[in-house]
């Protein structure tokens, strides 16, 4: 199937196209990131050299900047002039999608790590002159930051899909859609809990006193203990599968299909 043809050489050439056509905005963006890292580093140095603020800033830039970047990845598709040029470039749908995916996921992450580190190196050099202590050059080392990076790599697929699906203001529309889906799922869970644990409730969502003892399972085991020991680990595993596997795979496949169906 020609849609699924994948030539690494062509993917490389398409990545070159993606970077070259966004060169100006990428350069500006990375200068801003380096500047923010530099400024935050000096601020952290001036206020006692705490490194947590650097980690928080790094994660925020990675996530928010990455989602915005992913949201505009396919913006050229929605303009007749740039869309014609892009869609006529020799490359299968999968190759075009893969190129954008690599640029906005791994490419963005590596670039932010490098640029942020460069910003803090500059901050470090300046802080040696003005401050007694500093947080040290920032490189993502903590487990928490790496979990954030991994979370970005899978969740950005949603915004990449949004950039194909939405013609305008893709970032806001995708974020709003995610918000609406999250709220809807929350309501569904709430209603399910209310129905499933009906005897434990008085009023709409107010639980009865001693609810843990009151509800027992078929073998006399407290249902809440049963839930904690048996149901919650399963739900937790399901949630992990949903986040780490289902979400990216679903949105990658949906993105390729949507791109294949896009007309200019």
């Amino acid at each position: 199937m020609s849609t699924l043809t994948l030539s690494p050489r062509r993917v490389g050439l398409l990545i070159r196209h993606d970077l070259a056509s966004q060169r100006k905005s990428l350069t500006t963006g990375f200068l801003v990131i380096a500047g923010v890292a530099f400024g935050i580093f000096l601020l952290a140095s001036a206020t006692g050299g705490r490194s947590a603020v650097l980690a928080n800033t790094f994660v925020n830039i990675l996530l928010i900047g990455g989602y915005v970047t992913s949201s505009v990845a396919f913006s050229e598709l929605h303009d007749p002039k740039t869309g014609t040029h892009y869609m006529m470039l020799p490359g299968s749908t999968l190759e075009k999608y893969t190129a954008k995916l690599l640029v906005t996921s791994v490419g963005w992450t590596v670039a932010v790590i490098v640029v942020f580190a460069v910003g803090t190196v500059l901050g470090y050099l300046v802080s040696l002159v003005f401050f007694a202590e500093n947080p040290g050059v920032y490189l993502p080392a903590s487990r928490g930051v790496w979990i954030s990076i991994a979370t970005y790599l899978v969740t950005q697929s949603i915004f990449l899909f949004g950039s194909i699906y939405f013609r305008k203001v893709a970032f806001l529309r995708t974020a709003l859609s995610v918000f609406v889906v999250a709220i809807s799922l929350g309501i569904v869970y709430l209603v399910a809990i209310r129905v499933f644990f009906a005897p434990a409730f008085v009023g709409t969502f107010e639980t009865v006193r001693g609810v843990e003892q009151m509800i027992t399972g078929p073998n006399g085991v407290s249902l809440t203990d049963f839930a904690v020991e048996s149901i919650f680990p399963v739900l937790e595993t399901l949630q992990r599968i949903l986040l780490w596997v289902v979400t990216p795979v679903f949105f990658w496949v949906a993105g390729v299909i949507r791109l294949r169906e896009t007309e200019v």
């Binding site: 199937m1 020609s2 849609t3 043809t5 030539s7 062509r10 050439l13 070159r16 196209h17 070259a20 056509s21 060169r23 100006k24 050229e76 303009d79 007749p80 002039k81 740039t82 869309g83 014609t84 040029h85 869609m87 006529m88 470039l89 020799p90 490359g91 299968s92 749908t93 190759e95 294949r260 007309e263 200019v264």
Partner: protein, 280 residues
């Protein structure tokens, strides 16, 4: 070979732009696709390129379905659109970025075209005029040596010397394997270059003939009076420009604008020249 079989396409549900359109384009020719505004010329080109999908019917380009967007086809298919975008880079960077995507791209030929068009290889595309950008794209499109080259209004915005240069380059780049489709309003720019001529009207190809077929069946005359046997006449400088049946086998210069006006005004009368034997 480019073939459209019973292709139906519409932007809205109510009125189809193309209703069971049949088109067959053979290699080795420069097709001139003429039509009024809104006749569907650009849409037809987009369908051939796989940028739009037919609602029904079948399109094959070099044996591929263009809607599949197979890279093997795309590297043999070049569209220079009327409205286009160029990335912010120099001509040289443009070439080194996109040439590797086209296996038969001829770098030396591209440089030659750039020189002939009086362009600078180190000039930035985002600082060029629309006409200059168009010349870069035309130079690239010709040098890419794709088996299908589609040009939508190629002479729009070109200055007078560039139009002549373009005509020469296009004539030189035609070969037996290549299908070149030129969609244009500016028929005078394309005279003596496009052959055959296809005219699109109301979603149908109402006229498709080679220049030989045209001159063998009709003659174009200008005179102070309207000829009695004129199939079509229009006011022109010094009297009338008319199309009359070619009954004596003499060749005449083809006025594409006159032909286009005649075909779109009364397609039946022109087509009748081909369906009935003309008395000679």
């Amino acid at each position: 070979m480019v073939e459209l079989n019973e292709v139906t396409f519409s932007y809205t549900r109510k009125s189809p732009l193309f209703d069971r359109l049949d088109v067959k384009l053979e290699p080795g020719t420069i097709y001139g696709l003429l039509g009024r505004n809104g006749a569907g010329k650009t849409t037809l080109l987009k369908l051939i390129c796989g940028l739009l999908f037919p609602r029904s019917g079948e399109i094959t380009v070099l044996g591929h379905d263009p809607a599949e967007r197979d890279p093997k086809l795309q590297q043999e298919l070049m569209l220079i659109a009327e409205e286009f975008a160029t990335p912010p880079m120099t001509v040289h960077q443009y070439r080194s970025l996109y040439a590797p995507l086209y296996p038969r791209f001829d770098g030396a030929e591209f440089e030659r075209h750039i020189r002939e068009f009086d362009l600078d290889d180190e000039a930035r595309l985002d600082e060029m005029s629309y006409g200059q950008k168009k010349k870069v794209l035309l130079a690239f499109g010709l040098a890419a040596h794709t088996r299908v080259l589609i040009l939508d209004e190629p002479t729009n915005a070109l200055d007078i010397p560039s139009k002549g240069q373009f005509r020469r380059l296009l004539a030189g780049s035609s070969d037996e394997e290549r299908i070149i489709i030129v969609s244009t309003h500016q028929v005078r720019d394309m005279e003596n270059l496009i052959d055959p001529i296809a005219i699109l009207e109301n979603g149908r190809v109402i006229f498709q003939h080679t220049l030989d077929e045209i001159v063998s069946r009709m003659r174009m005359e200008t005179g102070s009076d309207e000829p009695a046997n004129a199939i079509y006449s229009e006011r022109a400088m010094g009297g009338y420009a008319s199309i009359v049946p070619n009954t004596d086998g003499r060749d005449s210069r083809i006025d594409l604008e006159l032909l286009f006006n005649a075909v779109t005004t009364d397609p039946g009368a022109i087509e009748a020249l081909y369906t009935k034997e003309v008395a000679r």
